[in-house]
């Protein structure tokens, strides 16, 4: 038998799993590479097996879809068509004449190298949360919305007893209801968007009955848990000495500025805050893939402009799990056809393509409605840290722009060190750009993970290869 074509999928979330199943079903050997201990990505984040969750489905939405994916994966794993490499942190994908090599670091210490060779690579690396700074945001007790959700889903720890969920975006709803279902008192859900904006966008929104039902379900859950919802409000400050004790919340005017006199203090020990998501594009940038704004650019088949490299899911634009599944499926089928040397027939994936079109339109509408208050950066006092790793204040960023001639994110970084620390700007770039009043340009992080120099110094050929052959 001729050797099977090899696909490396980076990211075992909905997009990566859907692609792996679609490609494996069509004779491609798939290596699924993911940094987490278990497959599932952000959405189907698994409770660690040792914790023995009693009813994980109570925390999970679309649990059945997940069971179907998981069942398919298990079957392919058993048959040898898919290899799953967990705890593999990919730091670079290298394109050579002979194909593509995925370079990873193993385990929690990320010190030992591993390499996976493939004929095609799918980037299904998902997204990460965007958090904007405000006075007090660095106090212990302030967590990201996704962080709170991940703690619920993955670790099953109740982050606090009295929580406020704040920011903007569809993610706040499951986080608020999830916290309440797990026993926390949710003192408020503070959403800066204006409900009127949703009414204006009803056409695209109404075209997605499942999504609206999902929203209605959350609305019912909000009611059931008696969670007070404040739209067109924002958290203007978090207060506390050693840790979070309260937040101040204010109404927003039409310009997006807090209305004087509307400020209220709400006691809480947890603030889960999020302002939407941004795609992970480091690996794509290292490969030289074209970006559209913050997203990896793909064509109708989910191909990037770099030969042999596909992308699917939130790396190509934020759009929820259903969109990631549709895109992953299309990518998997396109890859299988292309690696077999045939032109794929898009009619074969027409239902997925329709779901993709619909969901993209829906999220485009949502994105227009859910936005941080236009004037949020004005609320960031000069003394507020905007880059936590390097301890850079908003005042230092403003001086770099006003007095030293910085005009873009890169010069602000060079003049202040904002974004030079451990997170390499992943956390702080949106906040720094906002305070500086400049565009959020892609970071060009050519190393997606910190890499020991000893690993780099070892020639690729000497790095141990993962045994991923399809026996």
């Amino acid at each position: 038998m001729a050797e099977r074509p090899r696909l490396a999928v980076i990211g075992a979330g909905p997009a990566g799993l859907a692609a792996a199943l679609a490609a494996a079903a069509r004779g491609v050997h798939v290596t699924l590479v993911d940094s987490a201990a278990e497959p599932g990505g952000q959405f189907y984040r698994q409770p660690a097996p040792g914790l023995r969750a009693r009813r994980p489905q109570a925390l999970h939405h679309q649990w059945r879809t997940w069971e179907r994916l998981r069942g398919g994966l298990d079957a392919h794993l058993a048959a040898g068509g898919v290899t799953h490499l967990s705890d593999h942190h990919v730091w670079c994908v290298e394109r050579e004449s002979a194909g593509l090599t995925v370079h990873a670091l193993l385990g929690p210490d990320q010190e030992r190298p591993a390499a996976v060779h493939a004929d095609a690579v799918l980037l299904a690396t998902g997204g990460y949360e965007k958090v904007l700074p405000f006075p007090g945001w660095t106090l212990p007790g302030v967590v990201t919305a996704g962080g709170a959700q991940a703690m619920l889903k993955g670790g099953l720890v109740l982050p606090g007893r009295r929580a406020v969920v704040a920011g903007s975006g569809p993610l706040l709803l499951p986080v608020a209801t999830g916290l309440a279902a797990a026993g926390a008192e949710v003192a408020a859900l503070v959403e800066s968007a204006d409900p009127k904006d949703f009414v204006r966008r009803t056409r695209a929104l109404a075209a997605q009955p499942a999504k609206l039902a999902e929203g209605a379900g959350y609305a019912a859950a909000l009611l059931r848990h008696r969670i007070p919802v404040r739209t067109r409000h924002t958290v203007v400050a978090a207060h506390g000495g050693e840790r979070l004790e309260a937040v101040s919340v204010a109404a927003l005017d039409a310009e997006g500025r807090p209305v004087p006199g509307t400020e209220r203090r709400i006691a809480c020990d947890t603030l889960a805050v999020g302002h939407g998501m941004l795609p992970h594009t480091d690996l794509a940038e290292g490969l030289g893939c074209r970006l559209d704004g913050p997203n990896v650019h793909v064509d109708d088949e989910q191909r990037t402009d770099v030969p042999g490299v596909w992308a699917a899911g939130e790396a190509t634009g934020i759009g929820g799990a259903a969109l990631s599944l549709a895109e992953g499926h299309i990518a998997g089928r396109s890859i299988a056809a292309r690696l077999a040397g045939t032109e794929p027939d898009p009619r074969a994936w027409a239902p997925a393509a329709r779901a993709r079109t619909r969901t993209r339109a829906f999220f485009a509408a949502l994105e227009g409605a859910y936005a941080p208050p236009a004037r949020w950066a004005e609320q960031v006092t000069d003394g507020t840290l905007v880059c936590r790793c390097e301890e850079v204040t908003a005042g230092a960023v403003r001086r770099a722009v006003g007095e030293l001639g910085a005009g873009d994110l890169r010069t602000v970084k060079l003049l202040t060190r904002a974004g030079m620390g451990w997170c390499q700007g992943r956390m702080c770039a949106p906040g720094v750009a906002g305070v500086a009043g400049c565009e959020l340009a892609p970071g060009r992080r050519l190393l997606a993970r910190p890499v020991p120099l000893g690993v780099l110094a070892t020639q690729a050929a000497d790095a141990p290869d993962e045994d991923t052959s399809a026996q």
């Binding site: 670079c92 290298e94 370079h103 010190e111 940038e285 290292g286 490969l287 030289g288 770099a400 007095e403 030293l404 001639g405 910085a406 005009g407 873009d408 890169r410 010069t411 060079l414 003049l415 060190r417 030079m420 620390g421 451990w422 390499q424 060009r444 992080r445 050519l446 190393l447 910190p450 890499v451 020991p452 120099l453 000893g454 780099l456 110094a457 070892t458 020639q459 690729a460």
Partner: protein
Amino acid sequence: MTNRLCDVVVVGAGMVGAACALYAARAGLDVVVVDRGPVAGGTTGAGEGNLLVSDKELGPELELALLSGRLWTDLAEELGTAIEYEPKGGVVVSATSEGLTALTELAAAQRAAGVETVSVDSDRLRDLEPYLAPGLAGGVLYPQDAQVMPTLAAAHLLRASGARLETGRTVTGVLRGPDGAVRGVTTDRGDLYAPAVVNAAGTWGGEVAGLAGVHLPVLPRRGFVLVTEPLPRRVRHKVYAADYVADVASDSAALQTSPVVEGTAAGPVLIGASRERVGFDRSFSLPVIRALAAGATRLFPFLERVRAMRTYLGFRPYMPDHLPAVGPDPRVPGLFHACGHEGAGIGLATGTGHLIAQVLGGRAPDLDLAPFRPDRFAKEAAS
């Protein structure tokens, strides 16, 4: 000129443009600096800040480096902290005794030209640099080697100059009078009138010269730098292997990577930089990064377990004979060039700015500018 805006327009707000602005302003000229991007948005923000005399062979570049070094020392008195000036010295080492012989000969010649050098025996190397690899043949200490943070230096020199700064404004043409002399520049946001224009456009200096109708062959030479996680200070000097000097002076287009390793005040160790001529190719090159890491870990084995946090690249402005273009352009009265400094534009910026200010003011320059003449390239003779 009736609507004259200022005495001189400097094109480029990189390190060289900033130094030209500072010395011209201090010579009493009214200066406007124009850049299509922000301050230090070109190569200045994409390189390192070594101010080296150690890597210069005898000749005009070494003289410019020595002049520049003295000027940096003076500037450090007013701006030292703000620009992170550190007179830390350089240590050049050699693994082999033949290499050491060549290095010692170079050092002797440099000493005769005014460079301070101290020979270091192999058993004393670790007194200077405790974490150096064992078994090196020996080295030379260059106390005059220093460093600045380039972006901070460019920004603070510009601010100290008091020059008007026009960022986000692209120069699209050079205005010339009926006599052919410069009258200013056109930009995407209106004209700027001045009797003198300084081309400090770095790697794009050839394009700006072209706007004035003259040929100046400035070409890109790509370099990558690796930056590690922050560490307690373990590398005290700038440390590099002797073959670096050969790389710098090389005419080969192929990749060269004998890295300079140095600690920074903020903690990370910088490892740089590679040299290759691949045009303006911005794509990431893993083999280049691997070669830098290999060179650095050979010098400092403890680095093997230290993590590289990021890597970045820039394009050095180089000219075919590896010397910059500094001085008036005899082909276009009123046009001055200050570009093409390749891998030494930070270090050579102060001397360049000082010399440009002298010739702008009609004074005799401290150094003979003949080797830096902008019209020295053959193509001109033909055209």
